[in-house]
């Protein structure tokens, strides 16, 4: 099927409708600004679905995410949702992880099975994230209702609204006495080992380099549940950190021949306005509700990848 008003993008050798790219970018921009994620769980499958090879989909998506994150992070910074110290520490771990992920892609490319393996991994990861977040967020919302009833509506304020079901795990992680230990006053974390932050960001970077995007779908939950960062700050800081790590990831993928910058530039035109709208919307929702609304998104990516994998057809 020929895409509507298809244009030829010579670098990746694909024919794609620019309208499709702008609309996809716009929708992903709203999601990114709202949830603090790059939207790669939709952007990657969306590029794959119109015939782009996974290695190009991953690299091009990263490039588009650099641009989108600049817009959304600036907006979040104005809202006071960015912890600069945390973001800079995380960038180091993410860059290391992103390079490992990009090397894995190169290995699979040489083996000739990059499309199949990345499809399967993305289906497993995206489904697991959705299932986990629906479980955790509903549990937190239920527990908040119960607490509110007990205290007769006495709990008020942003902090009380931003609980998670993993408070025990968070406290245990913050008690690890591994030098160097830092405090994150902006995020309300008195002390945490730099190594915990580096490991969390390394895992995020690994997924970023391997599946594309900023991997906010895995880093954002880990920041909330493991590091104990309030959801609004996790969203803003994640976006700030993505600018640094996705820039590195884009460069790394570009020199491996996996980036079609023209596709990324066109997608980003839609994402720029979508990101502004998404960031403004975060002011109207509490933390657990943002997480609960996030749940269906990775499943959209799963549906697209499964369809492409089973039928072998483009959308």
């Amino acid at each position: 099927m020929t895409p509507l008003l298809a244009m030829h993008f010579p670098i990746s050798g694909t024919d794609i409708s620019p309208i499709y790219l702008v609309v996809t970018g716009f929708l992903i921009g709203i999601l990114g600004g709202f949830f603090g994620v790059g939207g790669s769980f939709i952007a990657g499958p969306a590029l794959r679905a119109i015939g782009m090879h996974w290695n190009f989909a991953v690299g091009t998506d990263l490039a588009h995410i650099v641009g989108k994150s600049v817009v959304a992070a600036k907006r979040h910074r104005a809202l006071g949702n960015v912890d600069l110290r945390l973001g800079l520490i995380m960038a180091a771990g993410t860059i290391l992880g992103a390079e490992c992920g990009a090397q894995l892609i190169q290995y699979l490319k040489r083996q000739g099975n990059v499309d199949f393996v990345v499809s399967i991994v993305s289906i497993v990861i995206y489904s697991s994230i959705s299932l986990f977040m629906v479980w955790e967020s509903s549990r937190t919302v239920r527990s908040q209702k119960k607490n509110r009833a007990k205290t007769d509506g006495a709990q008020k304020g942003r902090h009380a609204k931003d609980e998670s079901s993993f408070a025990g795990l968070t406290k245990a992680m913050q008690r690890i006495p591994l030098w160097p230990v830092v405090s994150l006053p902006t995020s309300g974390v008195k002390a945490i080992s730099v190594w915990v932050i580096i490991i969390v960001s390394f895992i995020g970077g690994l997924f970023s380099g391997f599946l594309g995007g900023g991997a906010g779908y895995i880093r954002m939950p880990m920041m909330v549940y493991i590091l104990g960062i309030p959801t609004h700050l996790a969203v803003g800081t994640d976006l700030f950190e993505i600018i640094i790590s996705a820039s590195y990831g884009t460069f790394s993928h570009a020199i491996k021949g996996n980036v079609d910058i023209l596709v990324a530039l066109v997608m980003h035109t839609g994402a720029a306005i979508g990101a502004q709208i998404g960031a403004i919307l975060t002011q109207y929702f509490a933390g657990p509700k943002i997480r609960l609304l996030f749940v269906p998104l990775p499943l959209v990516g799963v549906a697209i990848v499964t369809y492409t994998l089973i039928t072998g057809h483009k959308l």
């Binding site: 244009m7 993008f9 010579p10 670098i11 620019p18 702008v22 490039a63 588009h64 650099v66 641009g67 989108k68 600049v70 817009v71 600036k74 820039s247 884009t250 460069f251 570009a254 020199i255 021949g257 980036v259 910058i261 023209l262 990324a264 530039l265 066109v266 980003h268 035109t269 839609g270 720029a272 306005i273 502004q276 403004i280």
Partner: protein, 80 residues
Amino acid sequence: MKPETRRTLVSFLIELVVYTIGIVVYFFLVLHFLADWLEHLSKENIKLYAIVAITLILGQAVILEWVTTFLFRLLRGRSE
């Protein structure tokens, strides 16, 4: 529909139309002037292509951030 909601919706639609026109003109120009050069660069000098790619996307991000903020302020008469 409440008058306030209607006002917000109308200003958003105007923003979207103005932005869309600007963007269509812009990206056709970009595609027209840059496509051949970028394709050539990606084949001949991949490291320079990578640097140019990052610069282009960051530059576009800064410009579009400025344009969208300007549009938001102009049409709503206040800073969002």
